[in-house]
Amino acid sequence: MTKRVLVAMDSYRLAECAVPLACYICGVDNNYNTELCRHCAAPLALSHQARTQGVRPQMVAVLGTAAAGKTVYLGMLLDMLTRQNSRVQVLARGAFSITLQQRTMMALSTCRFPEKTPNEPDRWNWVHCQAKVNSKKNAMELIMPDMAGEAILEEIDHPNAYPAIHSFLEKCSAVILLADTDRIERGGAEQNYFLMKLITYLSEQDNRQNRGKSTRPVAIVFSKADRCEPCFDNPELYAREKTPNLWQQVQQRFTNYGFFASGVAGSVGFREEPGEGTSAVPLRIEPRGIVEPFEWLVRKV
């Protein structure tokens, strides 16, 4: 007599792969095994990670012009927060989240700044991490990409040029805006205009949903502030004096905002190599004001 038994249909396991996986950033359906979203080129590892977590990750954007210091700021921030930190603790989710930190620290340790971030979204570094502020009960899941400055500007000038940025900025809960202090000190007005454009873009995105000022927390960080000591003393006063239009726009359009100053390299030299041109060399690494804007944002979100 044959006993009745249940035999698992192995082929049925493939059914999981037939179910589409929605991109966490743009929401477009993709094949389950694909690496990058076919629409916005964001890594689908974010969607896989998000599915396994009980909480939906929040998104934090770090924006600034090309060479404003986004990669160095994010890389240094993650490196500092993944060490023992009394105020904020960060735990990376997924091996891909370590790459940005690794690249930045490897470059700085060899007296180099990390190379320019490519414009192609498929080559950006994305960070998915868990952040825990001491005063808060629950930890937060955060997604932070390191995007190219040109791509951000292109998206602002021509919406939907970069679907990843478009969707990300629409969904992000908080924004860190980096202003290059070095260029402001040299008298350039482009930082002022770029950040004004961004402020307008972000507030208009929020205004589509509700009239009035935007409640999305925005931290305006003067990067490379080591080249201007007064900026560290009072970043808001610095903003009022050096970037008055930006200061005015922020006041008028946002309720949750803060001005900060940060610096990674204590001193920068320049090396001239025949045939290679001039390259900037960080002479010593002296991070200042890196954690404060992030901590402020995490508390506000």
Binding site: N31, T34, E35, L36, R38, A41, T65, A66, A67, R112, F113, P114, E115, K116, T117, P118, N119, E120, P121, D122, R123, A148, G149, E150, L153, E154, H158, A161, E190, F270, E276, G277, T278, S279, A280
Partner: protein
């Protein structure tokens, strides 16, 4: 009298007379620089015919930092892609001076040439002809100082649709086999990455052997890192293993290795690839060039299989006629194969009618040389069998069966 509008009051631009036969080609430079409007990768200079839409598209397709696979200032990447619905861009990318921001690495410098569909047709839709013309009149290397504006270029297209000299160039069997396999994969894949020891000559000959109307379908890039943002159809990667692995993981991409090209059995090979083999091996480049050049400009990619079969048969038919006209003494002695019996040939006719390309090949090989009394009798038997079979069957025009009937009627010299 109607009042003048502000437009009427504007000074009309001076009309420049275009020399006869020349084509207007717009140009633009995409690279990394600090300009008054923006920092980083942008169009730094462009000619007056580049509109804002074109500029936006060029910024999307333009390769930015670290896009060249090989960090060698002498390395050149050639690219071709559509620009909107009615324009095409042919570009040449090299590494330029150091990145302006002092963060290490060199700027990626791309010189783009943009022309509309009508102008491109004058270049026989061949991107390499546009590049050759541009190189003849322009130094495409990055200068010490970036230009701020560029003039529209006047280029003189020349040459027949197909250059017989390029076919003659591919005379080594290894090269020919690689090109045939490559053609098959290029035609069968929606996105094909190619790796290994290829050179731009393969692409040049590939384009040369395509009908003119089909050529714009094959956008390509060489020696650039793969990015889904740049939607090229043919993507040439260098011998960088990491880059190859990264690219191969992308959805819907096939890979072709020039160092060890995967041979495709004739039966499953794309008929146009088989025609390319015939064109390369028959050592009659002028005839092959003439036949491809005569393919109508309305031909679509879907028609390529049928046309490939037709050209192959036409080429073989010509050889048969020439062999028949040649004196018997100079013709090679034809000995029917030992296994060529009547029954087998009749089965081959049946298989050929079902669309078996191998059967068609064998039948074609049987009667392609000098006529022989025994073979002639077999041909008549096969022709009768073919007529009998084709009478019972009805094929849709353009179907595999209909093409098989057409080819068989040429081989067996009967019309059903």
């Amino acid at each position: 009298m109607a009042p003048l509008s502000p437009k009427d009051l504007q000074v009309a631009p001076a009309q420049q007379k275009q020399p006869s036969g020349t084509v207007s080609v717009e140009q633009a430079i995409f690279t990394s620089a600090r300009t008054s409007s923006k920092d980083g990768y942008q169009l730094v200079a462009w000619s007056p015919g580049i509109g804002s839409d074109d500029a936006r598209q060029l910024a999307v397709w333009g390769p930015a930092h670290d896009s060249m696979i090989v960090e060698d200032p002498t390395d050149v990447s050639l690219n071709f892609h559509p620009l909107g619905d009615h324009k095409y861009c042919i570009s040449r990318t090299v590494l330029g001076a150091a990145e302006y921001s002092g963060r290490g690495g060199r700027q990626v410098y791309t010189h783009c040439f943009v022309l509309d569909a009508a102008s491109f047709t004058k270049f026989q839709n061949d991107p390499f002809r546009v590049l050759s013309a541009a190189l003849a009149i322009h130094d495409l290397r990055p200068g010490a100082k970036l230009p701020s504006d560029l003039p529209s270029l006047k280029m003189l297209p020349s040459g027949p649709p197909v250059d017989a000299g390029l076919i003659r160039f591919f005379d080594s069997p290894v090269q020919q086999q690689s090109l045939v396999a490559w053609t098959h994969h290029a035609l069968m894949s929606k996105k094909l990455m190619f790796t290994g020891g290829y050179n731009d000559r393969f692409l040049t000959v590939f384009f040369n052997l395509l009908p003119v109307s089909i050529r714009p379908e094959f956008s390509f890039s060489t020696r650039l890192r793969y990015s889904p943002r740049r939607n090229f159809r043919l993507i040439g990667l260098a011998n960088d293993m990491e880059e190859q692995k990264r690219a191969a993981r992308q959805e819907g991409c096939s890979v072709f290795q020039f160092d060890s090209p995967a041979r495709t059995p004739e039966a499953s090979r794309h008929p146009w690839a088989t025609w390319v083999q015939v064109a390369l091996c028959h050592r009659e480049p002028d005839e092959a060039a003439r036949l491809i050049g005569e393919v109508p400009l309305t031909t679509r990619l879907e028609d390529l299989s049928a046309i490939g079969n037709r050209l192959r048969v036409a080429m073989s038919g010509k050889r048969i006629k020439e062999a028949a006209a040649a004196p018997a003494a100079s013709s090679p002695l034809v000995v029917p194969e030992d296994n060529t019996d009547r029954g087998e040939l009749l089965v081959l006719v049946e298989r050929a009618l079902e669309g078996d390309v191998t059967a068609l090949e064998r039948l074609n090989a049987t009667w392609c040389a000098q006529p022989d009394r025994q073979l002639e009798a077999l041909r008549q038997d096969c022709a009768r069998h073919f007529l009998g079979l084709s009478r019972d069957k009805r094929f849709e025009p353009g179907s595999k069966g209909a093409v098989a009937v057409e080819i068989l009627s040429l081989i067996l010299r009967v019309s059903p």
